[in-house]
Amino acid sequence: PHSCPAPRSSLGGAEQNLPICPLSALGLGGGLWVSFLGGVQQLTAGVCFAAGWVWGILATSRRQSPCPGTLSAFQCLQIGKWGDRRVHQFEKMSPALPSHLVPPLQDIRNTVGNIPMEWYQDFPHIGYNLDGKKIYKPIRNKDELDMFLEKMENPDYWRTVQDKMTGADIKLTDEQVDLVHRLQRGQFGDVHFDPYEPAVDFFTHEVMIHPVTNRPADKRSFIPSLIEKEKVSKLVHAIKMGWIKPRKPKDDTPTYYDLWAHEDPNSILGRHKMHVPAPKMKLPGHEESYNPPPEYLLSEEEKLAWEQQEPAERKLNFVPQQFRCLRAVPAYSRFIHERFERCLDLYLCPRQRKMRVNVDPEDLIPKLPKPRDLQPFPTTQALVYRGHTSLVRCLSISPSGQWLVSGSDDCTVRFWEVCTARCMKTLPVGGVVKSVAWNPNPTICLVAICVEQSVLLVNPCLGDKLLYGATDQVLESYVPPEEERVQPVQWVTATPEEHSKGIRLVVQHSKAVKQVTWHGKGDYFASVVADNSNMQVLIHQTSKRWSQNPFRKSKGLVQCVLFHPIRPYFFVATQRYVRVYNLLKQELTKKLMSNCKWVSSMAIHPGGDNIICGSYDSKLAWFDLDLSTRPYQLLRHHKKALRSVAFHKHYPLFASGSDDGTVIVCHGMVYNDLLQNPLLVPVKVLKGHAITLDLGVLDVLFHPTQPWVFSSGADGTIRLYT
């Protein structure tokens, strides 16, 4: 076959004039191997032509390699069809073949290996060939113009590449260009390689009738396992002993954890609670404006003053300035400084909470009834009893409420008709009247008057003639006892001259008498002597003209004394304390702490369980005798010292007169229920008395039947408020 001559013509022409013989006829029983696309393939059948080329059909398999010696240099010239088969025309390669397809004549193979070729940049050679000779770089003397011309003229310029190893130009064949293109597209280099051939599995999921292995099963696979039996018996034992419990049915309900379960929903969270808002910056005002109103601009003096001030003292830390327009405003030089100070403010802001008690001031005021619901009480001044020329120290009223008696510093005692303010009688007594007391017994018409060192018992001869006649008779019917008793005082019957004035008896004490008060029955009266001994308090009996000194020793300066209206108790007020004595048992029952500095006056509730004490330090103490020995309430309504206090006989009223010239009337309801505390409501401040010599109201007194209050003042008047 090598010598098969065949003209280089078209296939049709070859078929016409060239004999065709099968490959076997050519003696190529082992098959003809041809090079095809760079590989070697066997031809299964072929026709050999005399011209030296072969038509053949390529074998599909490439697995077997050709036997050495059979390899011939055939080269596919063209591909044609023979029936439905594809046939290839091969030609024995000859040296006349194009140089790029056949190895070059001299094999200029470079032996430097895979090294960066830049190393040979500065050398004239590029490496060494197999013989160890230098491979010289091809001469490149083409200038740019030549390059350009070649580029334009050479049609193969685009497929000409330079071999880096030899530096020679190589023109790529069509196959090589194709290969390059396929590789660029990401395809296999071989055109004929089918990447999607059907795969044949070695193992399969289908059950085969034949096992994979043919080993017979062991004996132990047919007998029960002892180890298992042991294990099971252990488990059974454990179950019997209760060590293993049957598995609990699984609870499907999801479990959640309430993070906030223990937190009070009403409480504010800690971080919120402790939140302190940053101190707010002052908003810019008119003076910060770039064009402030002229009144905000500083005048020259103000500017001077501003400059002389300490920076910390300045009201403004800048000088307001006026600019023509906003564009003319320069950069603010103090900006960084102010930002820094603001940061300091925020950082040094006191992070301490002030615990402010949020109390409605209305709640602090005790709930008291309105004064107008507590009517009646005296509200207005109705009458002024004028006549005294000096301060009126004391007042007393007849039990019927028709007559009023007043004692004054002008050394007189005056008797008044209550309803008309008419002075019915004036009794000069020749001394300052310290105290008067009308006998509370309505059947006795007698007034006790303290004048200097004596107590005068006066029959005013007012009211019922029979009554005052009877009083005189009682006094006259006194029979002196046979044996003279030693008495601390002297009882003297009035002289006829005094008798005509109304004076019936004179009880002469050793010292000046401060106060006199009657017992409710009207027979006994007590007097207080300004003394420091045990002789301060004396109790007198009118009908027997007998006096006694109840106390053995002095417990302090006695201010005033009082009889209990119902029970046999006797109250003695010293400067700080009020002592309650039982007259029958002759012992001290109670000692009331007044919490005042100096008690001035005292009055007892007609029920007998409550006492009020006025003091010179302008306090009024209400004692509930059943409650405690300390004041139930301390009222500080007056501005100055209290001079006198009084209870009303029927109405729940009490009054206090003070040096500030006012009388304060209070509602003082005492309940029969022991559990209910008394209700004290100040209802009215009565003014009227002029303050004379720093003294205002000296005595207050209630009318026995009407809700009227009398007050006597240092201005020499007595006033009636209704």
Partner: protein, 401 residues
């Protein structure tokens, strides 16, 4: 609202004007209206003299500009207002000033004489001209109240009640100008504050501080009543000189719990008493039963009854004068409250001739003349006194204090 249409009407024929609606300025006051009426009258009658008028709208005196009054009284200004006018009650002038040398506790006037009780323990009789005619002395204490019983041309009977717990019945011979104590009425245990004679002049009633009312006979007799010794009270024969014959009460009315301040006969059988226990009580004089009680909340000082309008007026310590209807049975019914005084109202008296007028005296030294048709303010304040006013009374012509 500049104009109002009004129609004028009067009871008095003499001053009647034509009954046609007039358009009057809304802001006009009584003087303007009065001038208008006078002009109308002068146009009708040439010799008309100027008269001051007072104007009433629905029975209320006009005391402010017309439109304001109508607004406050809720009268529509759209319709024709009917305005009644009466001759203005001229301001009383103090005609005489009678000087006592002590306080006068009471006064009662008749056509010819004035009887006063005085704190100097006497009662006095004055003529209307202010001449002292007679001094009646006999009491040992302040005379609290006086009353005429009977007046003849020859002799008069008069009463004086005193703080010495007696009431003396005097006979005054006018011609001889002598007084004689006829009877000494004893029985009260407190000062007798008030006496009142009934309309027939045969009985009188007294109220006292001892909470009692006592009815006595006012007919002078020659017998002396037996002094009845009261069982519960030891009584001693009075050693003091006897003035006249002792007389004991016909009946005693007890019921007040406080002093009786004022007493009067509202008609022949009914006694009305005011007391400090905040009540006014009406009594049947024949049987002595309590008929009804009017309860106030303040002490009553004085009470007065007008037969013309059948109302009670009371003066009390809370500075108000209250008008009561005594016939109303259901509780106390205060018809009207007259408030202007600044002190206790010590005395009130209805006018004997005028239905709507009353006079009141107060401790604020002012006597006020009221018209019940103008309850907001009194007609006149008579401020001639320099001290407390204790009692007021009317005569036919005017007022005497």
């Amino acid at each position: 609202m500049a104009q109002l249409t009004a129609r004028f009407r009067t009871e008095n024929r003499r001053y009647a004007v034509e009954d046609v609606p007039f358009s009057v300025p809304a802001a006009s006051e009584t003087t303007d209206l009065s001038r208008l009426i006078n002009k109308l009258l002068a146009a009708a009658d040439a010799d008309h003299k100027y008269v001051e008028f007072d104007f009433l709208i629905n029975g209320q005196f006009l005391r402010m500009p017309l439109v304001t009054h109508m607004e406050t009284e809720n009268i529509s200004t759209e319709e024709v207002v009917e305005i009644e006018y009466v001759e203005k009650y001229m301001a009383p002038q103090p005609e005489e000033c009678i000087f006592h040398d002590d306080w006068i506790s009471s006064v009662q006037a008749t056509e010819e004489w004035i009887l006063t009780g005085c704190y100097d323990q006497t009662a006095r009789i004055w003529s209307l001209e202010g001449k002292s005619i007679m001094t009646v002395a006999g009491h040992t204490e302040v005379v609290k109240d006086v009353a005429w019983v009977k007046q003849d041309s020859l002799s008069c009977l008069l009463l004086s009640a005193s703080m010495d717990q007696t009431i003396l019945l005097w006979e005054w011979n006018v011609e001889k100008n002598k007084v004689k104590a006829l009877h000494c009425c004893r029985g009260h245990a407190g000062s007798v504050d008030s006496v009142a004679v009934d309309c027939t002049g045969t009985k009188f009633c007294s109220g006292s501080w001892d909470k009692m009312l006592k009815i006595w006979s006012a007919v002078p007799t020659d017998e002396e009543d037996e002094m009845e010794e009261a069982a519960n009270r030891p009584r001693k024969k009075q050693k003091t000189e006897q003035l006249g014959l002792t007389r004991t009460p016909l009946a005693t009315l007890s019921g007040h719990t406080e002093a009786v301040s004022s007493v009067l006969w509202s008609d022949a059988e009914e006694i009305c008493s005011a007391s400090w226990d905040h009540t006014i009580k009406l009594w049947d004089a024949e049987t002595g039963d309590l008929k009804s009680t009017l309860t106030g909340n303040k002490v009553f000082n004085s009470v007065s009854y007008s037969p013309l309008c059948r109302r009670l007026a009371s003066g009390s310590t809370d500075r108000h004068i209250r008008l009561w209807d005594p016939r109303s049975k259901d509780g106390s019914l205060v018809l009207l409250s007259l408030t202007s005084h600044t002190g206790w109202v010590t005395s009130v008296k209805w006018s004997p001739t005028h239905e709507h007028q009353l006079i009141s005296g107060s401790l604020d030294n002012i006597v006020k003349l009221w018209d019940t048709r103008s309850c907001k303010a009194p007609l006149y304040d008579l401020a001639a006194h320099e001290d407390k006013v204790l009692c007021v009374d009317w005569t036919e012509a005017g007022v005497r204090i």
